[in-house]
């Protein structure tokens, strides 16, 4: 036994001694951890956020780039102008840009990409945005003009998302496995179920500014394994790491913990198409049963800010609506009685895999039980969740579910007729139309405030919190963003100290 311990101790000592040597040798490469593996590498044909985490601004580029603070910077477009009614945008494209396969980047590629996203058989996450384009015209090779059917003040921002990635016409069909873009990195290797390696593209227009010649991305779903990979030095950075394991890194001098805000909204979705959830009093009762503070502490270890509507603090026109349906179990019981519901009310609660949903679900069930609602937990995988609960053509077979909507500014989703919440309120849809057709900022801010209040008052969902996304990185790694307005990792800015 003693011998065994000695051997283990010696091995550990050797490993510890060789770590700094390893770190010395990898000044131009980084290993990053990610929770989910992307299903493919074409961000224009699938919704999985993991695709963007690998490819956005690294393999593919977009016309604009959404910066850490949410501002919009030029990328493939050098500049742009908007018509006064915010319906027509003219983008001046960067010259001399090439795709990885040597084809030139020009307005034809942009036109092709946008029209492909709007096509009838498109599976683009933001298909509705691209279908709202009246026309996409290319007057010359370096100019693209986008005419939108309505005022869209956010167009430059929206086109900076992964769904707006510019692809090359000849290679577009095979992008899922062999991505071709204009970005600084090319796919090196993809070991399914394990890792993706990106290599620096030597012909990138600004290659000298790219510090890392190789980025390996390892997929580690288990929180304990995520922590172990960082502690052992196998992984140098772990963006959006499981909140449960963050605490131990805060006091560790080898690591930096970055706590970034998000534009995400974690909600208890309520199926308004089902009885008795179509009764606003029942929905208000559910909201009154929810203690947001306990939810944030228990589901995401305190990494969240309470929200009262489908909108995040810090965005244009944000109003605090957390007081509209406050935590009040007694009131919840009264509301249920008023609605004529016999308790215990049996409801199904379908939970997708992330910890915020599984942990949050147990807390929610316990909180609902106190007011006479018996929520039966069903843990489901993402594929099941999408096909049973969420997808537009799914049966929406659920009463309650917990999910985080990570897309910024997606109020439009609530106006979609087959959205899983089943709200379908003409008054709200009218208000939303008014918002998008108002071009002055103050007017929009006021209308956005009204919209948030309407969603909160109608208890459209149990709006819980805006999550914060913790990132743990090695102390010597620089250039990693703290704020993350969307799911992405900009490797072009990363470097070793």
């Amino acid at each position: 036994m003693l011998k065994k311990i000695t051997i283990v101790a010696l091995t550990a000592a050797f490993a510890a001694a060789s770590l700094p040597a390893l770190a010395q040798g990898k000044k131009d490469s980084v290993v990053m951890g990610m929770t989910l593996e992307p299903p493919g590498l074409d961000p224009t044909n699938a919704a999985a956020a993991a695709i963007a985490e690998v490819t956005l601004y690294n393999v593919y580029e977009t016309l604009t780039k959404i910066n850490e603070d949410g501002s919009v910077l030029p990328l493939l477009a050098e500049s742009w102008t908007a018509s006064p009614d915010l319906k027509t945008y003219t983008f001046k494209l960067r010259k001399g840009v090439k795709f990885h396969n040597g084809e030139p980047f020009d307005s034809a590629a942009v036109k092709f990409s946008f029209e492909r996203n709007a096509a009838a058989n498109s599976t683009n996450k933001d298909k509705s945005l691209f279908q709202s384009f009246e026309s996409v015209t290319a007057p010359d090779a370096d100019t693209i003009v986008v005419a939108v059917k309505y005022s869209e003040p956010n167009l430059p921002f929206l086109l900076g998302q992964a769904s707006g990635s510019i692809v090359e016409p000849k290679s577009a069909a095979t992008n899922v496995t062999q991505p071709v873009g204009t970005g600084p990195y090319q796919l090196g290797a993809w070991v399914k179920g394990s890792s993706i390696t990106l290599n620096k593209w030597a012909d990138y227009r600004n290659a000298s500014a790219i510090k890392l010649s190789k980025v390996s991305i390892r997929f580690i779903g288990d929180p304990a394994a995520q922590a172990a990979a960082l502690l052992s030095g196998d992984v140098d950075a772990f963006p959006r790491i499981a909140t449960r394991v963050v605490a131990q890194f805060k006091s560790d001098p080898r690591f930096t913990v970055l706590i970034g805000g998000s534009k995400a909204k974690t909600i208890v979705a309520i199926n308004e198409k089902k009885k008795p959830l179509d009764d606003v009093r029942v929905r208000r009762a559910i909201l009154a049963a929810i203690d947001r503070k306990a939810m944030i502490d228990g589901a995401v270890e305190g990494f969240g800010t309470p929200i009262g509507s489908f909108y995040t603090p810090g965005s244009l026109g944000y109003v605090d609506t957390t007081g509209i349906n406050p935590y009040d179990p007694e009131k919840a019981k009264k509301l249920l009685a008023e609605a004529g519901v016999t308790t215990p009310l049996e409801l199904s609660l379908k939970l997708p895999p992330p910890p915020y949903a599984r942990q949050g679900g147990e807390i929610l069930a316990a909180q609902l039980a106190k007011v006479g609602i018996n929520a039966k937990i069903e843990n489901v995988e993402w594929a099941q969740w999408l096909s049973q609960v969420f997808a537009p053509n799914s049966p929406h077979n659920f009463d309650l579910t917990i999910v985080s909507h990570v897309e910024p500014f997606d109020l439009v989703k609530i106006t979609e007729p087959d959205y899983y919440l089943g709200y379908n309120n003409e008054a709200f849809n009218g208000l939303y139309k008014q918002i998008v057709s108002t071009s002055d900022e103050a007017g929009r801010a006021k209308l956005l405030g009204d919209a948030q209040r309407m969603l909160a008052t109608d208890a459209v969902a149990g709006f819980l919190f805006q999550p914060q996304w913790p990132t743990v990185i090695s102390k010597k790694l620089k250039g990693v963003w703290k704020e993350v307005p969307q799911f992405e990792n900009d490797f072009s800015a990363w470097s070793w100290e």
Binding site: A224, V245, A247, K293, D297, G298, A366, E378, N379
Partner: protein, 298 residues
């Protein structure tokens, strides 16, 4: 048992030894592994029964403010990530463990013994069919059949009970058929047959009583395996569903907190170990005590 022929040749009607019960208990109390095993099993069953009437804290009560508290006077083993009392969770968890074990072994025992006796009694193609079917079932481990079942009907306690139960059937079929065949070859069965008893009566009156002790021992050991399988399935999220406490799910929950509160994984792990160890010792003890040959050697 007034068969004239049997009485005439002086064969016993059955081979079940008619020992006085007190003899069994005297030997049992001296058998160390039996006593230890029985004590551990009683501890687990006692905990489950106790949880029906009393737990230190309500096992379902979530109190986020006091999450991950170390052991103290109010929470003897501390609290989990939702602020629930570990002792209460362990007590209530024993309930689902035992429930799944009993029902699953019950399914395996009843169907397995029926098929095994049938195979031994009928021989021929009936035996072939039953044995090949059990080979087929045996090829699927409980975890695999549970995953398949969960994919079709959804995860839950019922799924894990069914999967573990089905997995137990071929084991009991093999044990029953093997030992029943040995009994069928005995002279007193021949005598019974000669006296005109049918296959069914011989099975019920002679075969079953003689293999009962083997079945009891096997059932005890299968119970231990069922507990392990239940813990594994719950750990994988296919067994007992939240919020119902279960040892396997407690382990799963603790896994993500290994660096912060390693003891959270130790408690349910120890509970599973105690239950399985107890049942195995009890099974060993019963085997020694019920086997007439071993008993005679003492």
């Amino acid at each position: 048992m007034s068969d004239p022929l049997t009485a005439a040749v002086g064969l016993p009607t059955t081979s079940v030894p008619s020992r006085p019960a007190t003899g069994f208990w005297r030997r049992a109390l001296r058998h160390r592994s039996f006593v230890l095993g029985a004590a551990l099993v009683c501890l687990v069953i006692g905990s489950a029964l106790l949880s029906l009437v009393w737990t230190p804290w309500p096992a379902y009560e979530i109190d986020i403010a006091s999450k991950l508290k170390p052991p103290s006077f109010s929470h003897w083993l501390g609290t989990d990530s939702f602020g629930r009392d570990i002792v209460s969770l362990l007590l209530v968890g024993a309930r689902s463990t035992i429930l799944v074990g009993i029902i699953a072994v019950g399914i395996g025992l009843t169907s397995g013994v029926c098929f095994g006796l049938l195979a031994a009694a009928r021989k021929g193609w009936t035996e072939e069919l039953i044995m090949r079917m059990s080979d087929f079932t045996f090829a699927f481990p409980a975890v695999l059949s549970a995953i398949m079942l969960a994919a079709v009907v959804g995860p839950g306690m019922l799924t894990s009970i069914t999967a573990i139960g089905i997995f137990q059937i071929p084991i009991f079929v093999r044990v029953t058929r093997g030992s029943a065949n040995a009994i069928w070859a005995r002279e007193f069965v021949l005598a019974a047959r000669a006296s005109g008893k049918g296959g069914f009566r011989i099975t019920i009156e002679h075969v079953l009583p003689n293999i009962l002790s083997i079945l009891i021992v096997q059932a005890t050991i299968q119970f231990a395996l069922a507990i392990l399988a239940e813990a594994a399935l719950s750990y994988l999220g296919l067994g007992t569903q939240p919020p119902q406490p279960s040892w396997g799910r407690m382990l799963n929950d603790a896994q993500t907190l290994l660096f912060q509160s390693p003891m959270l994984a130790v408690y349910p792990g120890a509970a599973i170990a105690v239950a399985v160890l107890g049942l195995n010792l009890l099974g060993d003890g019963l085997r020694d005590l019920l086997d007439p040959r071993l008993a005679r050697e003492r």
